[in-house]
Each structure stands twice: as C-alpha cells, then as structure tokens.
C-alpha cells in the first residue's frame, strides 16, 4: 500500500526563479549521491583554480598588457589576449575569484537579512509580521536589476565588497518569505512551550529553538542565493556596471562584446568566461537540488 511520508521541511523549489532550474536537474535520472559528488567536485575544481591558481603560478596582474589585440592562444598566453592585449588565462583566474567573492558576499548578506526578517515576522506574527511582509512584498515587486542599476550609478567607486552588498541587499526578500513560512510552522512545536516555561525570551527562542531546526533549509537557500548573486554580478558587469579596478567573469564578457570578439572570431575572449559562469551556476544548482533531496526524503525517487 502506498503511504506518502509526511513532509519534514518544505522543499526550497518554490518561488525562487533559479529553483526551477534546480528542480529540472532532479529529473536528470542521476542518483542523489552522484549528483552531490559531481557538484562538490566541480565547485572544488573551480575554487582550486580561482584561489590556488594565482599562488601556484605566481602572482600576476590581470590588468597588465602582455600582447596585442586578440592574440590567439599560444605557449606564452595559454588562452590568448583580450582587446587590450591582456592575458585571458590570468583574467579567468582572478575573474573567477572576484565572481565567487561577490556571489559569496551577496549570498551571505541576502541570507542574513532574509533570516532575520523571516524569523522575526514568522515568530512574532500580528502587526509586526504584516509590516515586515509588506516591506518584503514591495521589494519583491521592484525588478532588482533596476535598483542595482540605480545604486551602481549612485555609488561612484564600486569595490568588490560594495558590489556584493548591493546584490545582497536587493535579493533577500525571497529568503525572508521562505524562512517566515518555515518559522510559522515551527512556532507551535512543543519544545518551544517548554523553553517559554523555562523563561526563554524571543531572541533565545529564535536563536536556539527555531534556527537550528531550519539550518539545512537556510543553507540550501544560501546556496541558491550564492548562485543567483554570481549571475547577477555577471549581468551587471555585462552592462558595464561591474566592480571598478578589477576583473570579473562579467567584465570579461562586457569587453569581449564591446570589441566584437564574436564577429572577429576571437572565441578565447568570450568562450572561457561563459563556460566558467555556466559551470559555477550548474554546480551550485546541482548541489542545491541534491541537498534538497537529501534533506527531504519525500523527493527521492523510488
């Protein structure tokens, strides 16, 4: 007889636009564990490339001019040069590092704000919840790219940290809504009653009795925000609103488009950053979808 397992934590595959892609990955027909380790392997390789690469190969300035306009790959410049004659391979290493950093900051900021607003409104309920969710819904309806463009223009010098903060501050509402729903379902648990009877205040209850129970959920939300942050950075940089005085995967694409790398056949200028962005996003979504399944046995294929 068929009896469905009771849902433990609700799947994150709701609401967030990227979560749709993650749920598509689930249909791939590959086992959970395989997908988990593939994603870990890919992310590990990217991290090693971005973080250890510059150390192993010696520090190089990615903005230094080493050749001419679109030199093809050679033994000296492994992936050729870009429109300014800068080494594409070095740019790829530092660009990956920048993109990951911005994604990480954006993901952390979005998750932190989302968790604070989500738990407080879900736990307290009433007027406070109405007000906080009202703000959240307003932020959700404004296309984040518009805020990003306005903010990016308003701030003259955009460092990597500032970029991460800007993206994080505009993308928390999804996390806040998801966390609020989880908190509301945890609020009535009996262990909270015992904690109240032990004199625990709101902060203690949220910190010790609510958040630990949704850590797995929060982590999955963070992974999703991480991936989304990297893609948003690429989109902004593509428009020329990326971080100043550095290189990122998005900025590489920006220049290659401006200097018509596609038309001139300089594939090495636009192909590597595109592939890297795809791999990073793919690996993070694969990680998210496999974690979702590990934490939610109900989704597991029979």
């Amino acid at each position: 007889m068929y009896i469905a397992a009771a849902p433990q934590t609700r799947t994150t595959s709701r609401r967030h636009p990227l979560a749709f892609l993650a749920s598509v990955l689930r249909l791939g027909g590959i086992g959970v564990n395989t997908r988990f380790w593939i994603s870990i392997g890919l992310l590990g390789a990217i991290l090693v490339f971005g973080l250890l690469g510059p150390i192993v190969l010696g520090k190089r300035d990615p903005l230094r001019i080493v050749g001419g306009l679109y030199d093809p790959p050679s033994s000296k410049v492994w992936l050729g040069t870009d429109n300014f004659g800068r080494d594409v391979f070095t740019q790829l290493m530092y660009g990956t590092r920048t993109s990951l950093t911005i994604g990480l900051i954006a993901g952390a900021v979005a998750t932190a704000i989302g968790v604070v607003i989500g738990t407080i409104s879900g736990f307290r309920g009433g007027m406070l919840e109405e007000a906080l969710m009202g703000i959240t819904n307003v932020v959700i309806t404004i296309p984040s790219i518009v805020i990003l463009i306005l903010l990016s223009i308003a701030i003259a010098s955009r460092s990597v940290v500032v970029m991460g903060l800007i993206i994080g501050i505009t993308s928390w509402p999804w996390t806040a809504r998801a966390v609020r729903a989880q908190t509301a379902s945890l609020r009535a648990r009996e262990h909270l009653d015992i904690a109240r009877l032990s004199g625990a205040g709101t902060l203690s209850l949220i910190l010790w009795d609510i958040i630990p129970y949704m850590l797995s959920y929060i982590f999955m939300a963070f992974v999703l925000q991480f991936a989304s942050g990297i893609l948003q950075e690429a989109a902004l940089s593509l428009l020329g609103l990326g971080p100043s005085n550095t290189i990122s995967l998005g900025i590489m694409l920006h220049w290659s488009l401006l200097w018509e790398a596609v038309r001139t056949g300089a594939w090495w200028a636009f192909f590597p950053p595109t592939v890297f962005l795809t791999i990073i996003a793919f690996a993070l979504l694969l990680l998210q979808s496999s974690l979702d399944e590990i934490f939610n046995p109900r989704l597991r294929r029979k």
Binding site: E190, A195, R196, A200, D209, P212
Partner: protein, 281 residues
C-alpha cells in the same frame, strides 16, 4: 467556588478558535478550583478540549473569556512578560509527546541548565550540580550517564522521567501534566504515575490530564470529566467511580480495558455507533 485556600481558581474559562462560520469552541465556560497539595484529574477523549484547557492554564494560549487566579498572584489571566515569568516560577508542565518536548540540539545538561533560567535566584556552582544530580536520581536516572546525552539517545520513558526531574528541580507549586503517559508503554505508565505522586510529597499540586479513567483513579483525589469543551461531571474519585451520573462518564468507565480472558468480554457492548450525549446535565 471561592475559597481562600485555593491554589488555582478557574472561572468561566472559554476559548474559541477560528472566526465567522468556522468558529469552534474548544473550551466552554470551565470553572473549578484546586487546593494546595491536591491532585485533580481532567478526563476526556481526544478532542474534548482538555489539552487546550491545559495550555490556557499554563498561559501558553490566551483565553477568549474567563479568569485564572493563582494564590497570592491573584488574577493571572492577562499577565505579560516579566509578570508571566513570576507565574511560571510556580506553574510548570509535563507534556504528552516525549519526543516533541525536547530541543534536539540541546544535551540533557544544557536542557536542565536552561530550565533553571526561570528562577530568580538559581543555585550556582556545586550547589547547582548537586541539585541537578539529586533531581535526576529521584526519578531513577544516573546523572553521569544521562547528563551528556542528546534527547534522541534516551527512550520515551527516560525522557518523561527527565521532564519530571525538571519539575523537581524547579519545585513549582502546580504541575500541569498533559497526558504524560499516553505515549509510553503500559508497563512504564505506573512508574511515571508514581513519580508524579511523589511530587505531591514535596507539596506540589497536580492537574493531571488523561483519557484513561484507570490512571485517573490511581493518581487523583478529584475528577473533572470533560466532554466537548465542557465539564459534565465532577466530584471525588470514589464518588464518580461508584456512581457515575453522566452517560459519557459511564462510557469512559466502560471503555477502560480491564484484564479479560479472551474476546468474549467485548462483544456485549456496542461501540460502533457514533455517540452523542447531551451536555446540559
């Protein structure tokens, strides 16, 4: 109903859930008193409103109407924040589900330390460790064995005993025990009931909530029978047992499984028909 010696005095307590056409009255105009050192049982089947009543009395749920008075604290129905804390120093709980009442991320030690937070002047240092050890030993748990453990490493019976150890540690004047044995093996129930009975020797009163008249008879001095949110019968255990007046009490009494000698014992009564009793008696 107003006696100066009462510890707890509940009057006209009502709780409604929902609104408009979907309104459900879970607890309807409940009044009773509980004297110091007394054990009162509230008996009813699931859905009779007895657990809602427990949460109302514990002030974990606000009532729709009615008042709760507690000894020298007076009317505690509208207490908030720090004043509520004062109330909880005197009134504690043991809940039904020994698996849901523990924060699974706390060890037993941390759980007990946190519980001491309700006291204004909790014991410190070695005095504290001694108090914890004594409370655990009183319920038959070995302190060095259970203190470092996580809740999932304990059996259901051990967890319920731990909950009772918690109340021993806090020494409240009233313990609301909401079905503390219904998720335990029959063979463990007596042990838990005996521990609750021992709480009384420390001067603690107990409001014991159960669906099983057998357990109520064993533990309590007085009975309140609850049906569809109302108290339909009340009185000393002896009286209700020997002459139950309300048909619902009679059925509850008949439903308690006694040791039988095979299946013939059951076939005489009819229980497949839905039962409805007037609550206006």
């Amino acid at each position: 109903m107003t006696s100066r010696t009462a510890l707890l005095e509940v009057e006209g307590l009502t709780r409604r859930f929902g609104s408009g056409r979907n309104v459900v009255t879970a607890v309807k105009d409940v009044s009773f008193t509980l004297a110091p050192g007394e054990i009162v049982a509230i008996v009813g089947e699931s859905g009779s409103g007895k657990s809602t009543l427990a949460r109302l009395i514990l002030r974990l749920l606000p009532p729709t109407a009615g008042t709760i008075r507690f000894a020298e604290l007076g009317d505690v129905t509208r207490l908030r924040g720090g004043q509520l804390r004062r109330y909880w120093q005197h009134v504690q709980a043991v809940f039904q589900d020994p698996f849901a009442t523990f924060n699974q991320f706390f060890t037993v030690r941390r759980f007990l330390l946190r519980s001491l937070g309700i006291l204004d002047d909790p014991p410190q240092g070695t005095a504290r460790d001694k108090a914890i050890a004594a409370a655990l030993q009183a319920v038959g748990l070995e302190p060095s064995d259970v203190l470092p453990k996580w809740p999932h490493q304990l059996s259901g019976g051990q967890r319920q005993r731990l909950m009772i150890a918690r109340t021993l540690l806090l020494r409240p004047r009233l313990v609301v025990a909401d079905e503390p044995t219904s998720m335990l093996d029959a063979s463990l129930r007596v042990t838990v009931l005996n521990l609750l009975a021992e709480l009384r020797q420390h001067g603690t009163s107990i409001l014991f909530i159960t669906h099983d008249l057998g357990q109520a008879f064993y533990l309590a001095d007085r009975l309140l029978v609850m049906y569809q949110g109302e108290i339909v019968e009340h009185g000393p255990v002896e009286a209700v047992l020997s002459a139950p007046r309300h048909p619902y009490t009679q059925r509850l009494l008949a439903d308690v499984p006694r040791l039988g000698e095979g299946r013939t014992a059951l076939t005489t009564s009819e229980h497949l028909t839905p039962h409805h009793f007037s609550t206006s008696s």
